[in-house]
Amino acid sequence: MTNRTTITGHRGLDHEEPLIFELGSPENCGVDLPEPAAVESRLGGAERTTPVGLPGLSEPRVIRHYHRLSRQNYSIDGGFYPLGSCTMKYNPRLNEKVARLPGLGDIHPLQPEETVQGALELMHTCAQWLIALTGMPGIALSPGAGAQGELVGLMTIRTALEDRGNARKFVLVPESAHGTNPASAHACGYEVRSIPDDGRGRVDLEAFTAALDQDVAALMLTNPNTCGLFENDIVRIADALHDAGAFFYCDGANFNALVGRVRPGDLGIDTMHLNLHKTFSTPHGGGGPGSGPVVFSEALAPYAPLPAVIEENGRFRLIEHARDSADKPFGRVKGFHGQFGMFVRALSYMMSLGSDGLRQVSSDAVLNANYLLTRLSDVLHLPFEGPCMHEVLFDDRSLKETAVTTLDLAKALLDEGFHPMTIYFPLVVHGAMLMEPTETEGKRTLDSFIEAIRGLVRQAQAGEGDILKNAPYLTPRRRLDETGAARRPILRWRPEQADAAE
């Protein structure tokens, strides 16, 4: 009798929560500020003369609002979150603590250099760790997230090529690549040439070789790739690129498979971004902020963007302008010095694990993924043979005879208390399910996830697919009308709407 309806609409601990605009009143206020001194205005006639229209709420009501909203979210803290390509690993609380230390959380980016030596040293130390782990000598810390890191990598390549006299025209991107790859290529002024896979989930070498001509600036390759597989021809690919005078960009979103075990610099890669919010445990925060430092080979390092931190006789300096740089930076892609707060967290994470621990990270991540592969490949179809790296890709072939889709299976997992894997990505297999367990999940959790998937597939195959097709039932909301949302977009609250909604 849990389909009981309630008078209030709340359901036990699950509260329905209106918008702040429906809750607030202009009179209320959740802060107490002193009365401003009476001064002669210097706003020069550009004063605001109309109300903003913001709702006012008391502090208790604000706390309750966001408390209730938070409870409608799935999270790593709450459960298994095997989103492939996203590396939803545990986010240590120590990182949050140190990021808030006075002298780290509150410093201003334009304080005199002498007053931020610790911050610069921290950035430098973080950079040195990343350089050591990737085996690549150059680094730009500033990109705001992975996608911006990609762009920076390509811009650096383009600048190096321009320096040689020809920026070239194309960037090769495998079909399995993340959408940010072609989008970044485009934002860097390149056209994309798509490369198919070879049927084994890797770049089709022939197609690659065919596409590789003197107009090609670079290849953007994710490694391990988005099928969870190591590109075993990577060294050949690198050589071919270099022979063609092109550069090798690696999308490092999947570095969690390699950290401590493989240095991309040893594979012939010229530049690669790192998602600190993936491999290095900085929180995803519901969609950011991230941080996407980029590492460079000797050949590219001189063109990296500003700012940069250097050490000179134990003093740390911030290079903010080309004229202070010994190199040929191509410019600037972000305000100030990058996502400093994320450098703090990532360094705290790296120091906590240390070199041994980081090596164990990739081992356990790969072990966990292969365990899923082994325990699920009789009920889900494996399009490409393993072993996989840190994530395993299934397609929907085993559901083919049923009415159930990848989406349905994902939604049914929500009822089971799991966040689904990444679905319908990569695009190279039908109904993709990409599972990345990460190393911070234990065997017991994996076993329970495996049992759930097995049970659900069994249900689907036993003709009980309706349960899956109508799932989820037990979540704060059931399936949402996404088509309607896009057809008639409502992107903000409006007073009229509220009246209409009554």
Binding site: V39, N73, Y90, G118, M155, G179, M342, D356, H419, G442
Partner: protein
């Protein structure tokens, strides 16, 4: 290792299940000589206490603006953030969730983003806003390219009053797109007139209000001039609190607003992460980059929210997307929206008045010091003063006296001797009369 739950026994049993006897077998696709046999040459792991000690050492080598009188701004401002904000954003359900791709279990994030979008639209006076960009500088660049797509033009005029980082980021990115950027010299007196630079190729004009030098203007005329030429007016805002006291860009006729939202809810954090705001016209939504949370209903008819219009985005449109942005500034947007919910109409406008009043008080005091001249007739909470010496020297001297006096313009324009003596000074709600005394006394000393 405290973050790793697998025991040796688990590992053994799992390898057995998989059918391998060493982990290395799982790495068989890696070229042999690229597989490291030993750990990388880096320090060993450390316990919490040890790591914390190390970070305290880093912190101790910085001067915390909480501990000294400080007047730094230039795009990052120190405001008091209520304790409720930092508690709420650390709740695991917010901190450790991903982008809300499964809306059924992400209503918390989706609803606050919807509220955030509404708040940003309200304070900027625009119709719609997206769910955040990396920061103000990248929001500015994205706004410019959005204008380019909308007007199908690629000449961008960037005011000299635009924050140099915003200009640099936009110019850098435009360069790779093969677009032209027009960047008039900065005029610290705030009398720049951009109408002359408008032509029929111009996609947009970008101004900043208050400007980098602090000047406050009403850009209604410029908006009209832009529109007459078929160009768009983009207003950048680096101090979002100013909108509590100033006419909204939307009310001046702005087409796009690109702003830095750090001032609300977010610590300075040495400049990042912060939160970029992007607001515009509803008609332009399909050219707007970044995520959008939209209202809809679920199969039971209950109101709910979902990411929408994602055909604009890279994961669907790939190279044809409006931007390559993916991860943005969710948690900083959350901090922003919580702080603004706490403030509400009264708090937000009062906070703005308080900032202005403090800045006026300080300006009036500085104007009385011999040799110190304010360049601003108008300003919000930051203004430019001309000193009788290079500002960088003065700032350094004052730093030795434990005063963070402001930002020397030369820090951002090192090649402009004419700007060498200029100092940007900001005063916010966190400054006290004692701070003002310290700065005035300090200045008197180092200038004498």
């Amino acid at each position: 290792m405290r973050y790793l739950p697998l025991t040796e026994d688990d590992r053994r049993r799992m390898m057995q299940a998989i059918g391998v006897s060493t982990i290395e077998e799982l790495f068989r696709d890696v070229p042999k000589d690229a597989l490291l046999e030993k750990a990388v040459d880096l320090p060993a792991g450390a316990g919490e206490l040890e790591v914390e000690r190390r970070f305290r050492q880093f912190a101790d080598r910085n001067v915390s603006p909480a501990a000294v009188p400080g007047f730094l701004g230039a795009g990052i401002y120190r405001h008091h953030v209520p304790a409720a904000v930092d508690y709420l954003i650390q709740r695991g359900e917010f901190l450790t969730s991903y982008t809300p791709y499964q809306p059924e279990v992400s209503q918390g994030t989706l609803q606050y983003l919807f509220e955030f979008q509404t708040q940003v639209a309200l304070i900027t006076g625009m119709e719609i806003a997206n769910a955040s960009m990396y920061d103000g500088a990248t929001a500015c660049a994205e706004a410019v390219f959005m204008a380019g797509r909308l007007t199908k033009r690629d000449r961008f005029v960037l005011s000299g009053g635009l924050h140099p980082h915003y200009r640099d980021v936009t110019t850098t990115m435009a360069h790779f797109l093969g677009a032209e950027t027009v960047t008039p010299d900065p005029d610290p007196t705030g009398r720049e007139d951009l109408t002359a630079l408008l032509d029929d190729e111009t996609a947009c004009v970008v101004v900043q209000n208050p400007s980098f030098f602090g000047h406050v203007r009403d850009f209604t005329d410029l908006a009209e001039a832009c529109h007459a030429k078929g160009a768009l007016l983009i207003v950048a805002v680096t101090e979002i609190v100013s909108l509590g006291a100033l006419k909204a860009p939307g009310d001046m006729g702005a087409d796009i607003v690109a702003a830095e939202g750090q001032s609300l809810g977010n610590a300075a954090s040495f400049g990042g992460p912060t939160v970029g705001l992007l607001a515009g016209r509803a008609a332009h939504v399909r050219q707007m980059p970044g995520r959008l949370s939209g209202q809809t209903v679920d199969v039971d008819g209950k109101r709910g929210y979902t990411l929408t219009l994602s055909t604009r985005e890279q994961h669907i449109r790939r190279e044809k997307a409006t931007s390559n942005i993916c991860t943005n500034s969710g948690l900083c947007a959350l901090a922003f929206t919580i702080h603004l919910s706490l403030l509400g109409e009264n708090g937000f406008t009062r906070l703005a008045r308080l900032n202005h009043a403090n800045a006026v008080t300080l300006a009036e005091r500085l104007e009385k010091l011999p040799g110190v001249e304010t360049l601003n007739e108008t300003f919000f909470n930051e203004f430019t003063v001309r000193l009788p010496k290079p500002a960088a020297v003065v700032v350094k001297d004052l730093a030795e006296r434990n005063i963070l006096a402001g930002v020397p313009v030369s820090r951002l324009y090192p090649t402009r001797p004419d700007l060498e003596n200029l100092l940007l000074v900001a005063a916010t709600d966190t400054n006290t009369d004692a701070d003002f005394d310290a700065l005035c006394d300090g200045l008197k000393e180092v200038l004498s």
